[in-house]
Amino acid sequence: MNRRNFLKALALGLGAIPFRASAFGETSKLVIVQGRYAGEFRPRPNALRRLAFEIGARTSIAAVPEEKVLPLDSPELFRFPFLYLAGAGELPALSQAEIENLRRYLTYGGFVLCDDAGDGRFASSCERELARVLPGRPAGRVPADHVLYKSFYLVDRPAGRTLARPYLSGVIEGTRLAVVISGNDLGGAWARDELGSWEYEVTPGGETQRELAFRLGVNMAMYALCTDYKDDQVHLPFIMKRRR
């Protein structure tokens, strides 16, 4: 066996790592928290549970497929650095306490995913409110070569239940993308009911597009945890080869 094959075997075929009950609980695991605000804050109640399941099944991330909901002004939020903010309508103007809490959260390492489940008003109102949270840093388009699109899967475009917005927008904090705003109802593509059926039909791309939405969700979780790891020099030749 040459070195390349051996490494391949390492990467692909070795036995499972034993998981054992431990005293560590959920603290270092990925819990995606649903942000609560005045209004319909949970348009896709089963979306996050499914995404967490998929993340756990597809990657080495230990994700907790349980619901966790926290208000935006909660100090508890800091224990869960991945916040999911969804809505089908307009995001109401945030209170001063919410703004200050979110500003601190984003400045010290928190990550927020805003998901528009409606007609685009939620995404634009999120951009408006986030401009109040991080003044002077308006949301901009996430470039196609951003590490978010290669943090686990090599993804070439954003997708969700719809393809309403062909791009993701985001807000940069320091060197890191701290907020990602999707206008394509990612949650709608992820949501699956208790009986195992997809709750919403994905249009226009069907199941391929749903898979793309999951891949994007996995990449976002991977980016939240590993940031620009896939931009490290060591990964470049491999990624370039596969993208060709």
């Binding site: 005293a23 080495s60 945890l225």
Partner: protein, 758 residues
């Protein structure tokens, strides 16, 4: 003329002011002019000439009468100007003048004796002054100059000496010129020849400098003339050392040059010396694999009959530092603990981070072909075999080795640490006993060992132990109380890997109520292993000290940053965290100069160890023999300064060991190189060309001493000055100027009447 007076000049003795005399002169000229105009119609030239002559004579006579000219008799004298003779008294003058073996000083003395009559001839017009110069200018008497000056100066500063001469008052007498008798081996302002600033300085002297060159012959010698190397080098990066070798009179030989680090050969080069050339260059390159300060020596063999043997070796000190802390972070799975540590390391400009995260385990199903994934194989062999030694710090974060067949590489990691590396294991369900490290080579070097099953998850505040109160890693704030308060402010942590500390480990943080074998379970423990260090943090939640702490009423992530910065500095042995710091006053010492050092001792809480006992010794770096040992007490600031004598040329270590109240605080060392020979004593080559240039720039002359004559001194003649008496003698105050005036006027009047002009 009176015998008292030796000079005279014509002067005006009139009491009238000069302007009045000038006006009179104009009137006289006008008188002549009017007369000439009045005679224009006179056709007979003889008459015209006669009348005009009479008018001119009368006008001149009038001027003479009014201006009262006289002779001023003067007594004068010539002032002797100074002629300075500067004789080189630097150590290079002890060297042979040529193959015959007489010294340069003797050659200079012989020349002075030979030209003594010529100099005596100059003394009528010039006062001769004799000086000896090296780095300074000292007056000497003529006899001392002629019998040979003492040549022991460690410097030759030609320009400095000439400047000092120009600045000397010389009782107000003018300096007519200088004669410099030297070999020209200047290592100060003129070391690069006469150019730019030094040319201007020479021109500004204002007197001609004539030069007499001694030591023009060939001297047999081989010398390591200079070494060009940076003051510091980066560990594991190639260092280039350029060595200049000069050879004269040793014939055609291949000279082996050896570079040694504190006695151990590092590299060798050969210089092919061929008759004609005098200067050769050799380049050594090597890769330092250890940080610290080291003395290196480049040496060449000594050939028979060399003028100087001490210049065949030259030492220098090289400080080998780390560029950045090259850190390998291996992570078993992406988690918040990894995310915050990576961000911190990545943003630290002092850290060069290489990370490997296991993003997918074999049980994970990405539902996509490999080509759709950005995953790369984990280059185990490359990291843990080939590259391992290139890292300053290796961190395993929640990483189990078995799935990646790392068993074979664990001994490498142990050896890497024992040889000076640093290793940290951070908690998680795949770390310590849970990661199967018990009874492995890696487990052996950890500060903790597995201690049983995990307790139920429960938040707990980690507690600073007695050792933790003082240890640099756990210093979040300066001062014990502020530090305790800083720890108390941090959020409580959930769950730990259950371990117990090894006997030689230091527990810095422990669990406040969970015990293992009667001892509190360690949360943070450190250990010295061979020449390296290890750290165990048995929690996977140190990230709570970052974002969670920031979320607590005005908190920040500063404690987290400080903790990790401290931990990394301690792990990689940051020199500033050394308990005993030894600093040589000078790393490169001239022969005969004292070796001195400052030793600073810090107590275990890293405050100044006032009154600590310091045992300081000077050790020969090659033989490890102690040459001198001092025993001193540190001052209030924990510092002491010691002098360690004047050791012979070579490489030395200054070692210090500090104890306080019977407890060993630690030890430290620095290095120092005593140069084999100063440049003054090692550079055998005379520089007549420089002397010739000095003469040419200043307008003086140049000769070789062997010619036995004086150079063209181009001295200005001495100044003449009045020294007192002067006497005025009127010369035109007799009656005849008036008579001439009267006759001329009368004659003109009579003739004008007769010829019908009146």
């Amino acid at each position: 003329m009176d015998g008292l007076y030796d000079d005279w000049r014509i002067v005006s003795l009139s009491p009238w002011p000069v302007w009045l005399l000038a006006a009179l002169f104009v009137l006289a000229a006008l008188g002549v002019f009017l007369a000439a105009r009045g005679l224009k119609r006179e056709r007979r030239p003889s008459r015209r000439f006669l009348l005009l002559s009479l008018r001119t004579i009368s006008m001149l006579a009038a001027i003479f009468v009014v201006a009262e000219p006289g002779v001023r008799l003067l007594q004068t004298a010539r002032v002797r100007s100074r002629l300075a003779i500067l004789v080189d008294g630097s150590a290079s003058m002890q060297l042979p003048a040529g193959s015959r073996g007489t010294t340069r000083t003797a050659e200079a003395a012989a020349w002075l004796s030979k030209v003594a009559p010529n100099l005596a001839g100059l003394s009528a017009e010039h006062a001769l002054e004799f000086y000896r110069f090296d780095g300074a200018l000292t007056p000497i008497d003529e006899a001392a100059a002629r019998s040979g000056v003492e040549a022991d100066g460690e410097k030759t500063d030609l320009l400095g000496a000439l400047r000092a001469l120009a600045g000397s008052s010389g009782s107000g007498r003018k300096l007519a010129g200088a004669i410099v008798v030297s070999d020209g081996t200047d290592h100060e302002d003129l070391r690069g020849g006469v150019n730019g600033a030094s040319r201007k300085a020479l021109e500004a002297l204002g007197f001609p400098v004539s030069t007499v060159a001694v030591g023009g012959g060939t001297v047999k010698d081989l010398a390591v003339e200079s070494i060009a190397v940076e003051d510091f080098a980066f560990v594991r990066n190639t260092v280039e050392i350029k060595v200049a070798v000069t050879a004269a009179g040793i014939g055609d030989v291949d000279v082996p040059l050896v570079l040694r680090r504190e006695g151990q050969p590092v590299s060798q080069q050969t210089v092919n010396v061929r008759g004609g050339e005098e200067r050769y260059e050799a380049t050594f390159s090597f890769v330092p694999d250890e940080i610290g300060e080291f003395v290196f020596t480049v040496s060449a063999p000594v050939y028979e009959g060399e003028a100087i043997e001490g210049n065949n070796a030259r030492s220098f000190v090289l400080k080998v530092i780390r560029d950045r802390v090259r850190t390998l972070l291996v992570v078993g799975r992406p988690s918040w603990d990894q995310r915050f540590l990576r961000t911190l390391l990545k943003n630290d400009p002092n850290v060069d981070l290489i990370s490997f995260f296991i993003l997918r385990t074999p049980s994970d199903q990405p539902k996509a072909p490999d080509t759709d994934l950005s995953l790369i194989p984990f280059p185990v062999q490359e990291i843990f075999d080939t590259q391992l030694k290139s890292f300053d710090l290796v961190i395993f974060q929640n990483f189990a080795y078995r799935p990646y067949r790392l068993d074979a590489y664990l001994p490498n990691i142990r050896r890497y640490v024992e040889e000076g590396g640093a290793f940290a294991m951070l908690g998680g369900e795949s770390s310590f006993g849970d990661g199967g490290y018990e009874m492995t080579p890696l487990g052996e070097i950890l500060p903790v060992e597995p201690g049983g099953s995990a307790p139920t998850e429960e938040l707990f505040p980690p507690r600073l132990t007695e050792a933790g109160v003082r240890h640099p890693i756990t210093q979040l704030a300066s001062g014990a109380e502020a530090n305790q308060a800083a720890w108390a402010r941090l959020p409580e942590l959930p769950g730990i890997n259950v371990t117990r500390a090894k006997p030689d480990a230091r527990v810095l943080l422990d669990h406040p109520h969970f015990t293992v074998g009667g001892e509190s379970a360690p949360v943070l423990a450190v250990r010295e292993v061979g020449r390296g260090r290890t750290l165990a943090l048995t929690t996977d939640s140190s990230w709570y000290w970052s974002i969670v702490a920031s979320g607590q009423g005005g908190g920040t992530s500063r404690a987290y940053e400080r903790f990790w910065s401290n931990a990394i500095r301690w792990l990689v042995r940051d020199p500033e965290l050394t308990p005993v710091l030894v600093q040589a006053a000078q790393r490169s010492v001239e022969p005969g100069q004292a070796v001195a050092a400052t030793v600073t001792a810090r107590s275990s809480d890293y405050g100044p160890a006032s009154g600590a006992d310091l045992q300081i010794s000077l050790v020969d770096a090659e033989t490890q023999r102690i040459l001198r040992a001092e025993h001193v007490a540190a001052g209030v600031d924990g510092t002491a300064r010691v002098e360690l004598g004047t050791p012979p040329p070579g490489a030395y270590k200054i070692e210090a060991r500090a104890t306080h109240e019977g407890k060993v605080l630690g030890s430290g060392q620095d290095v120092v190189a005593v140069r084999a020979a100063s440049l003054e004593r090692s550079d055998v080559k005379a520089r007549p060309d420089l002397l010739r240039e000095i003469a040419s720039v200043t307008g003086g002359g140049f000769v070789q001493a062997s010619s036995g004559g004086l150079p063209d001194l181009a001295l200005a003649p001495p100044e003449v000055v009045e020294v007192g008496r002067a006497k005025d003698r009127p010369i035109w105050d007799r009656f005849w100027p008036l008579a001439v005036l009267g006759c001329a006027l009368a004659g003109e009047w009579i003739l004008r009447r007769r010829w019908g002009y009146a």
